[in-house]
Point group: C2
Chain length 496, copies 2
Amino acid sequence: MEPEPVLSRDARTGETRAQIGVEADAAAVDAAVRAADATRDALADRPRRAALLRAAAETVEARADALIAAADAETALGVPRLTGELARVAYQFRFFAGIAEDGGYLGVVIDPPDPAAVPPRPELRRWKVPIGTVAVFAASNFPFAFSVPGGDTASALAAGCPVVVKAHPDHPETSELAAAAIRDAAVKVGLPADVLTLVHGRQAGVDLVRHPLISAVGFTGSIPGGRALFDLAAARPSPIPFYGELGSLNPVLITERTAAARGAETAAGLVASYTLGQGQFCTKPGLVLVPEGQAGDELVATATEAAAAAAPGALLDARMREHFLAGFAARAALPGVRTLVEAAAAPTGDIPQAVRAGLLEVDADTLGPGQSAGGELLEECFGPVTVLVRYRDMAGVEAVLGRLGGNLTATLHAEPDEPDAARWISRLARFAGRVIFGGWPTGVAVAPAMTHGGPYPATTTPTTSVGGTAIDRWLRPVTFQTVPPELLQPELSRPS
Amino acid sequence: MEPEPVLSRDARTGETRAQIGVEADAAAVDAAVRAADATRDALADRPRRAALLRAAAETVEARADALIAAADAETALGVPRLTGELARVAYQFRFFAGIAEDGGYLGVVIDPPDPAAVPPRPELRRWKVPIGTVAVFAASNFPFAFSVPGGDTASALAAGCPVVVKAHPDHPETSELAAAAIRDAAVKVGLPADVLTLVHGRQAGVDLVRHPLISAVGFTGSIPGGRALFDLAAARPSPIPFYGELGSLNPVLITERTAAARGAETAAGLVASYTLGQGQFCTKPGLVLVPEGQAGDELVATATEAAAAAAPGALLDARMREHFLAGFAARAALPGVRTLVEAAAAPTGDIPQAVRAGLLEVDADTLGPGQSAGGELLEECFGPVTVLVRYRDMAGVEAVLGRLGGNLTATLHAEPDEPDAARWISRLARFAGRVIFGGWPTGVAVAPAMTHGGPYPATTTPTTSVGGTAIDRWLRPVTFQTVPPELLQPELSRPS
């Protein structure tokens, strides 16, 4: 059987740009995994890993023009956004270099012996070791920051785990260029290039998750695709952790007082957030609770105007465009749903694939508990659309929140002196991994205190894929009991 | 349909002692989960949780006589061992009270805003919150320390998670007494009794793992039972973490020099460890690499003598007794396996169910790579038996280690100045969560630096079920972004 070609396509025109390679068959996946796995001992050198991450930052910066040009053609995300995304990637490599160097993530704990403990305690020395070789699935919507040179790769390499990336079919050329940059960086600091290997193809992803030498998986993508791979990871003879980020509605609650005090500003912020990058963010606000009454009406009117004026643009690929338009139409057709701005194809000469953003409105009563209606409105619709849910009182808000699953984020727009503000913050934290006050969920800072994760389906495990503690996913604890310190690594060998 | 009775049996005689209750049907499981889940808000009070754990320690101590009498009848583990186990439980409750009080486990990180970060960083405040209501499956072999009042319960309550325990059928009366002690302790400190509820029955366990209000599962038991429940947890519409400890061979490597220097002492230590509690520890050394030659021969002869002299005793139940005797016979019948001491039924007047310990020997060549033979020798056999594997050289050792899966422990008996000692420590850490030098794996200290976990099948996740960090399993991270500190809990409200 001929191997399937891997094609790079222009997202704006839908046309094929070039053949990048062929899809990996089982033997090619096996070779990619074995090559990466063979670099584990070399990656055990922590200072060298930090050097690798710094060199990777430099290399992607040096090759920014080529990377951005390829990514812009393949994703239509535009040069300004992609320039920012690549800067984020370089920042993130350096951030994890610092974390690797610091070593705090190793969680070293040394217990002196304690004969009074029950049972008596021998001397114990604990730290965390790399979990093994990991598979990383690139995301469609961030060709850099959640793909080959993204957070999963940076945190796994920082932890000492070789990485096999499954490229996303939306940006194969970008993936190859980014992989080459990291592999070249490895060689530059005296590590094998194979600390990162790359495979293309849907079946290659399946083979990767099943491979006995793969010890964990990082994934960013859709619920159906992510769940299928999660199920494979769980069904292995030796199950492995599957760190998947699958989908999120990212609800926003705007109080009556804020609608009255800052309605226009809030409406403008909302539309900018949900149309950013053509709504193709996992943190896009997809459901917005707006009060009934005059202040809410004015906010909705302002949002409608801004949404209608939003610039059309291409989505990442033709399939997503179809899904988006069909998803919008299905939601608009639900009983009780009002179309404020209709999402539609909006082809231009330059961008035949362009669409324009949509905006929907519905009453909270339609979404309350026991309502079978409106289920689709509580599911993510990838692309530039959001649903304004008009509520009469906080009981109506609670009824809608009670129907939500796990989320990456939840946002509150309220006045700090509102008596219930603390209670709503705490309520939103019940189902979300990040609670934002007075801001917008799009934009996820690379920082020690960041959480990008949440109850299922936001993520499949209680972990984060962004920020300092993302490294914890690629580690497992080991304790040494009464082992003479001189037989241990320097980090563990201080007196107890 | 009549509900199945829950019967307490005498482990020494096999006779029924009493009916303790009935198995929980689906409605009873639902009620137990809802009752526990309704205590989440009450458990959010961290100082009160610490008080609960201290009160639980006091209550089990005050009721020690009744608890130990029930457990001794139901498990035949003996009063001295059970007295020690209950002391461990009380120590562990107080240990986790200290952890809850200290709050370090919350992992509070506060990032000030940083406009120079890429992307710019808003103010972020992160900590960990309780994951929700958890299910705990009690183990057969530790009626206290890995059952109702055990480490999973103590760490989950410390984290702020209500607990629903699925009792083990081997000790239903002990389970009821222990649950009552914890529930009474809760009431004593002003918490609802339902912070812990208890169910009996195999199907009840299945229903528990599937219940939508259960957010995580702790399990200690066998590979088949644990894997079936792991699969259920993964197959839920919303999968939840399943923290299972499933099985471990706990290999021991004795070097030539140690066999020569301290062979008799090492043999005595080994037999004491593998026959402790009739070999019913998850950390029982089940495979021991002993050098060929005179020093090894002498060590084996001493071990054989000690094993033959070990006191017979009852196993936890009739099914385990059958499995043990059948498992021993199957291993003894494998080609190349020599029976040094035959495990067999050894009934006495007092203990009609007693068995005596066995000891097997095989050459390393039989277990090398590419050998399909000997597979059973590389699987845990629950009960008082171990396999001495005679090796010619370190290549022979490596060949055997290369066939092992994940383990809770691995032990090295070597001289600290042996040139390869550090390399062997590092090799053992590749597949085990705890590496012991010059000691024995049985006995797991309750300590900040403990790891009781390892690659599958030792545990299903890279976590520990004993020691300070066991609490991490019951938490998920949440970040608050630009939330005014006065709207947050005191732990998060300090200036950034």
